[in-house]
């Protein structure tokens, strides 16, 4: 073989090798719990981090650009940012540096965020494939897969069960190790939001506006609450369930007996979930308004008009509120009075909720740009990576 051909073959091989980097979990990570393992961060989907040291600035710490656009929510797992991409890959990025770490192939378009528990990763794929998969993150092998038609949002793990809902109106629990189906709760109504858990019951809202309380042990219905309109999202907080419907009405429901404690019309349609803290609830609306309500009475505390469509859920970090718009603007407001602090213009619409590890906030755009915001110290230089 002459040297020219050898050179070309070598370069080709190098290119092939560097094209893809399959990801496996470091063994040392296995026993660490995830910072943000679930959709909205925790089992109750509160969308807030209270014990945080986020400094209230939107300095760009790093940016990551990928052709694999995020199609589901971000997950934070022990310093790793994970998201399902449009090219049928689940990607891993270092949350510290924005460096690309690798991918696993979900064999289908991932429709839910990735949930990682111990060394196992769970995600569901979109119709056509419609499977819930459990992947051993140590070797990327599929441990088991189960049919789940049109899974919604994200799964939750309670007492060794992985529980998720499907659009056809089913709430299903599987054994998280074996994949055995443990129970199914069936409704005639359709589900389009993920379930949540308040430490006592699993809560699932239907499109038609019914809130179901179900036992985690065997999937039996405890009670149901009928609301007026199709529901956008729900969260659990301090023995209450907060629900916002698509017309912008927010309900506070007693988790013990299903009684509606208050309801408030916020005056605009909303598609994302509420974020909640001790004193206030924050809701983003399609009209571009961010509305803050008091937790106790549901009174409107303040409004901020971002003008452009807010479709993704808002996030509370420390004393701040962050949210993105479909026009690609990322805002930072004061939680106490809704006053404007800072805005960043990003490339691409923001359709998925931002996540935070307490110190930094991470947000993805539909153009495949993932950005880490926070207070950049002198040692940190903004990094920009592409993949």
């Amino acid at each position: 073989m002459n040297s020219k051909i050898l050179f070309i073959v070598s370069i080709s091989l190098l290119m092939l090798i560097s094209c893809g980097k399959k990801y496996t979990l470091d063994r040392e990570m296995i026993n660490h719990s995830a910072d943000w393992p679930y959709y909205r961060g925790d089992l109750s989907a509160q969308g807030s981090i209270k014990q945080a040291d986020f400094g209230g600035k939107l300095d760009i710490v790093w940016e990551f650009k990928s052709n694999d656009k995020p199609v589901g929510p971000l997950t934070l797992y022990n310093g790793m940012l994970v998201y399902p991409g449009s090219r049928n890959r689940i990607k891993f990025i270092s949350a510290d540096s924005g460096k690309y770490k690798g991918y696993i192939k979900p064999r289908g378009v991932a429709q839910t965020g990735l949930v990682i528990s111990d060394s196992l990763g769970y995600f569901a794929t979109a119709p056509e494939k419609s499977k819930l998969r459990c992947v051993n993150m140590l070797n990327r092998k599929t441990l088991w897969k189960k049919d789940v038609k049109d899974a919604v949002g994200g799964s939750i793990i309670i007492e060794e069960k992985i529980i998720l809902s499907s659009a056809e109106g089913k709430l299903i629990a599987f054994d998280k190790i074996t994949g055995e189906r443990l129970w199914t709760f069936k409704s005639k109504e359709r589900f389009t939001t993920p379930p949540l858990f308040d430490g006592y019951a699993i809560w699932q809202v239907s499109e038609e506006g019914t809130l179901f309380a179900v036992t985690p042990k065997d999937g039996k219905e405890i009670f149901q609450v009928r609301l007026e309109n199709p529901v956008a999202a729900s969260i659990a907080y301090q023995k209450s369930i907060f629900v916002n419907d698509i017309t912008g009405i927010v309900y506070k429901i007693d988790a013990q007996d299903g009684r509606i404690m208050w309801q408030t019309e916020t005056g605009g349609s909303s598609w994302g979930a509420i974020a909640v803290s001790e004193s206030s609830l924050i809701l983003g609306q399609s009209s571009g308004e961010i509305v803050s309500l008091s937790v106790d009475e549901g009174k409107i505390i303040w409004r901020y008009d971002a003008i452009d469509v807010v479709a993704a859920s808002v996030l509370m970090v420390n004393k701040y509120v962050v949210f993105g718009t479909k026009a690609g603007d990322f805002y930072l407001l004061n939680l106490s009075d809704g006053s404007f602090i800072q805005k960043r213009e990003l490339r691409g619409a923001i359709s998925t909720a931002p996540v935070s590890n307490g110190q930094y906030v991470f947000v993805a755009t539909d153009k495949g740009m993932i950005t880490c915001f926070g207070v950049r110290n002198n040692e940190q230089e903004q990094t920009k990576t592409n993949h």
């Binding site: 049109d150 359709r190 009209s287 469509v309 479909k326 619409a349």
Partner: protein, 931 residues
């Protein structure tokens, strides 16, 4: 006769590159590709002074004369943008180009799309560049509705693109037309009386189209309304979030049915059944208290679509009797007809619209007509750019007067004064505003009665000619579409409101009894009488709709346009003795609103328009055995465009540089004279039956000028100077010349088309051309061509078509044409003749064979609609030097339209030399329209 039958494989013909090059030019100038050397003309009567106004989300293109309308459009579009951003949960990433015209007449001159725009088009969104083009018709409610309707399309395209891009989906599916148009209607206005009328009529008259059969009415107004009804049903039954979620779920299905199923839980079939059931439950009970026009009154008209009936007394030689004069679309174009009111005698055609520049369009629904006691009829028609008023003498059966209004672009619904000296009409100024005008018939002078931005229509004189009664949106809630009746005192010029409430009171007819009018009081358009005591009595209780009331001379019979069974017809009814009184509270609210204009804070920029080019198309094509690239750029208004063509025909790598085939064309269509200029260099091996194989290199410049006299006729002038060298084999020259060619064509086309081809009208093309050799200053060739086609309609779907074609060329290197085959001389092989002299005639009887043919297969089926038959006889001769003999052929053909896109042609023919008939039956199959 010489027979140059081809023996070898087809190579590129002599003019292949030139054709590609010129067709590109002509394609965008002419109406359609199949009509390149015929075709109607889009005439740029006005040279617009374009400006651009930029807002947060829009770039509004307008001309100086309509700056107020543009400002209103910008505000309306910005308001709509905000509403739709919420409904779609989406932001359009780029500023939306919105092009505004102040009238439908100016709108019809737009070059944003190439084809002719039918008068019924209220606006459109061009999908390639997302341009929205909207004319102002006079009504702010309709303007707002159309702008929002088109923006729904922009959001739909953008949202689907966004969802697909986010999922990296390569397969780009688009929702069915009924859904996109239905959604655009649903999200652009409330459910209104017109939508209710269309849907209810279909249900009550068993003419309903479930979702799986909506393809039958694809693209029609009926489809829009049923689509709107489906979206309304989804929203109210499945939830108001579902239409938004449907787009977010786009990736969840391979087709629309799967996306619907994933979103609603029901598939399209289940959705359709539930929707139909809900409509039946809603509308059937209405028949308890309401009736249908053809069951309760006498139907006077019968064929087609009939409106605006006027009762007259007429003596047809057998004594005076009741007749009606009315507008109708009976055969695919609007006309004015008259017929006896109570007998089925033959209909008399007074005016035939759509076939000449005098009567380009009679505005079937938008403008009424009137007949005075002296048997003079007045009507408006589009004539070239503007509307004109015509007076037609019914006795003399001819136009006796024509009035042109230089300051008005449109003229609608003229009415005579009772003394016959004046005419009142609704006129549209060039800035788009609609006011009432008074025309003095004696000196042809005209003057406006008011000068404001309200929409003033349907004027009529009171019996003593002292006042005008008219409809207007000048009252409270006028900006939301409320129309009431008003009177204008001709002495004091004072305007007084006559009817009140949030209704649409239209088509008034003032009589001694009071004012008859049509109104949607009660939820359906019915007929009412406003008496002298200002009380309103209801005259009809139809479930569908009644419009245009006109009272007969004896005051006993009411003529009206009734809607039923998806058609308008003229009906007559006896006046009820005691009309039921309806509530009529009077709240005088004149002129208390103004259309909202964009504020200066919302304008980000406003400037004179400079050209803004962007890519139209970039594609690689096969050009013979070589690949070729085609690129087209045009500016946002479509007036100027560049076309680039690049190919290489090199056979060895040493030939690459000299084998580039390049064509660059510039087109200018901004003004009435369209012109194009191109440069080209072509080199390739060619073949024709006369010269056989040869190489030719051509380089030169070509220009095209087109001047349309009207929509129907024009002249084309083409000139070309080229250097041409021909070689038999490499290096063996057979000639080297610099040639200058000029050709001049006069083209006329007023043909009316149906799916299979022209069915009525005429098409002419006279062309002469001459080529001179500049190298030796000698005459090179000359050419003359005549192509005459006549289509005589003998029934609704039948016609008798004739074609006469002659071609002759002479000179040192005469031009030759291929002839023969299904598109020219049937029975003979395609390209059987290649000669410089041709004479040919074709006669064809076209008639309907089967209205529907459905062929079933185990896996499904295929259906054809409107299958036509043809009997034809062709005769002709083609020769080079000496005339040989006349040949002929005759036979039958079948024409099968497939999805209204492709026409399959099957011809069976036998040849004849007029002494004997060939025993063999030739069969030919091809795609394409009739000649």
């Amino acid at each position: 006769m010489q027979n140059h039958k081809r023996e070898m494989k087809i190579n590129k013909s002599y003019i292949s590159f030139i054709v590609i090059f010129l067709i590109t030019v002509l394609f965008v100038v002419s109406e359609t590709h199949s009509q390149i050397y015929f075709g109607k003309n889009k005439v740029q009567y006005t040279d617009f002074d374009w400006q651009v106004l930029e807002t947060e989300h829009l770039k509004v293109y307008f001309y100086a004369a309509e700056s107020e309308i543009a400002s209103i459009a910008a505000q309306s579009a910005e308001d709509s943008y905000r509403v739709l951003a919420v409904k779609f949960n989406h932001e359009v990433p780029k500023k939306i180009p919105l092009i505004i015209y102040s009238s439908p007449s100016y709108f019809s001159q737009t070059n944003v799309i190439g084809g002719m725009l039918p008068e019924s088009v209220g606006g459109f969104t061009e999908f390639m560049k997302g341009r929205v083009v909207v004319p102002f018709h006079g009504s702010y409610r309709d303007f707002d509705h159309v702008i929002r309707h088109e923006l729904v399309h922009v959001f739909t395209i953008s949202k689907l693109k966004h969802v697909n891009s986010r999922r990296s989906q390569l397969k780009y599916r688009f929702p069915p037309l009924w859904f996109t148009e239905g959604l655009a209607e649903f999200w652009s206005k409330d459910w209104d009386t017109e939508a209710d009328m269309i849907t209810k009529d279909m249900i009550l008259n068993n003419m309903f189209f479930p979702i799986e059969r909506l393809y039958v009415i694809r693209g029609s107004f009926y489809m829009y309304k049923l689509g709107e009804s489906i979206c309304h049903f989804i929203d109210s039954t499945y939830g108001s979030d579902k239409l938004t979620k449907l787009f977010d779920n786009w990736h969840k299905g391979d087709n629309f049915n799967e996306v619907i199923t994933a979103t609603l839980g029901d598939n399209l079939s289940q959705l359709s059944r539930k929707w139909e059931y809900a409509l039946k439950k809603k509308y059937y009970p209405e028949l308890d208290s309401l009736g249908l026009p053809d069951m309760e009154t006498e139907k006077v008209s019968h064929d087609g679509y009939n409106v605006k009936g006027v009762p007259i007394r007429y003596d047809d030689g057998k004594g005076e009797s009741d007749w009606i004069v009315y507008k109708a679309n009976r055969f695919g174009y609007a006309g004015i007809y008259m017929r006896p009111m109570h007998s089925s005698k033959k209909v008399k055609t007074l005016i035939k619209g759509g076939g000449s520049s005098e009567f380009e369009s009679l505005h079937l629904l938008r403008s009424g007509i009137d007949v005075h006691d002296n048997q003079l009829m007045i009507f408006s028609s589009k004539s070239k750019e503007n509307d004109v008023l015509y007076i037609y003498d019914i006795k003399k059966e001819k136009i006796v007067k024509r009035f042109e209004m230089d300051s008005l672009i449109a003229v609608r619904s003229p009415r005579f004064s009772h003394d016959g000296t004046k005419v009142v009409f609704s006129g549209v100024r060039k800035n788009g505003y609609t006011d009432l005008y008074l025309l003095n018939l004696e000196d042809s002078s005209y003057a406006s009665l008011m000068d404001d931005y309200y929409y003033d229509i349907d004027p009529v004189f009171t019996p003593n000619d002292s006042s005008i009664i008219f409809s207007s949106d000048r009252g409270v809630n006028g900006e939301n579409g409320v129309i009431n009746l008003y009177s204008f005192n001709l002495l004091s010029s004072k305007i007084k409101q006559r009817t009140f409430g949030d209704y649409r009171d239209m088509n008034p007819d003032a009589t001694e009894d009071g004012i008859y009018f049509s109104s949607n009081r009660g939820g359906t358009f019915n007929l009412f009488l406003l008496d002298k005591e200002s009380k309103i009595g209801q005259l009809s209780t139809f479930a569908t709709g009644a419009f245009d009331p006109r009272i007969t001379e004896d005051g006993k019979t009411l003529l009206y346009s009734g809607y039923q069974k998806m058609r308008f017809h003229i009906y007559s009814m006896e006046l009820p003795e005691k009309p039921k009184q309806v509530d009529h509270s009077q709240i005088v609210t004149l002129g208390n609103w103004k259309p909202k204009q964009i504020s200066s804070e919302m304008k980000t920029k406003s400037k004179k328009y400079d050209t803004d080019y962007s890519l139209d198309i970039a594609q690689s094509t096969m050009n013979g055995s070589f690949g070729a690239a085609q690129v087209a750029f045009s500016e946002v208004l479509g007036n100027k465009a560049y076309f680039l063509f690049l190919a290489n025909t090199a056979r060895t790598k040493d030939d690459i540089l000299e084998s580039f085939n390049v064509g660059v064309t510039f087109l200018q269509r901004e003004k009435r004279m369209n012109w194009g200029l191109g440069l080209f260099h072509f080199y390739d091996e060619y073949f024709n039956e006369f010269d056989k194989f040869y190489f030719e290199r051509e380089a030169g410049v070509v220009s095209l000028f087109r001047y349309p006299f009207s929509k129907f006729h024009r002249v084309d002038f083409t000139t070309q100077v080229k250097y041409s060298i021909r070689e038999i084999t490499f290096g063996t020259k057979i000639r080297e010349k610099t040639l200058a060619s000029n050709s001049l064509s006069w083209v006329f086309d007023n043909s009316l088309w149906e799916m299979a081809g022209p069915i009525e009208g005429r098409r002419y093309n006279f062309t002469v051309g001459i080529t001179t050799s500049l190298s030796d200053k000698s005459h090179w060739n000359k050419m003359a061509l005549v192509d005459l086609r006549h289509y005589f309609r003998i029934g609704r779907n039948s016609s008798f078509a004739n074609r006469l074609f002659a071609f002759s060329s002479s000179g040192q290197e005469p031009l030759r044409r291929y002839f023969g085959g299904t598109w020219s001389f049937r029975g003979y092989e395609r390209r059987e003749f290649y000669t410089r002299n041709i004479i040919f005639s074709s006669t064809e009887l076209r008639f309907p064979l089967l209205s529907i043919l459905h062929i079933g297969f185990p896996f499904g089926g295929i259906g054809f609609r409107g299958i036509q038959g043809a009997l034809f006889f062709d005769a002709g001769s083609a020769w080079d030097d000496d005339y040989d003999k006349l040949l002929g052929s005759f036979g039958v053909g079948i024409r099968l339209p497939v999805w209204n896109i492709v026409l399959l042609r099957f011809d069976f023919s036998r040849k004849t030399d007029f002494e004997s008939i060939d025993n063999n039956t030739e069969f030919e199959f091809f795609f394409g329209r009739n000649f």
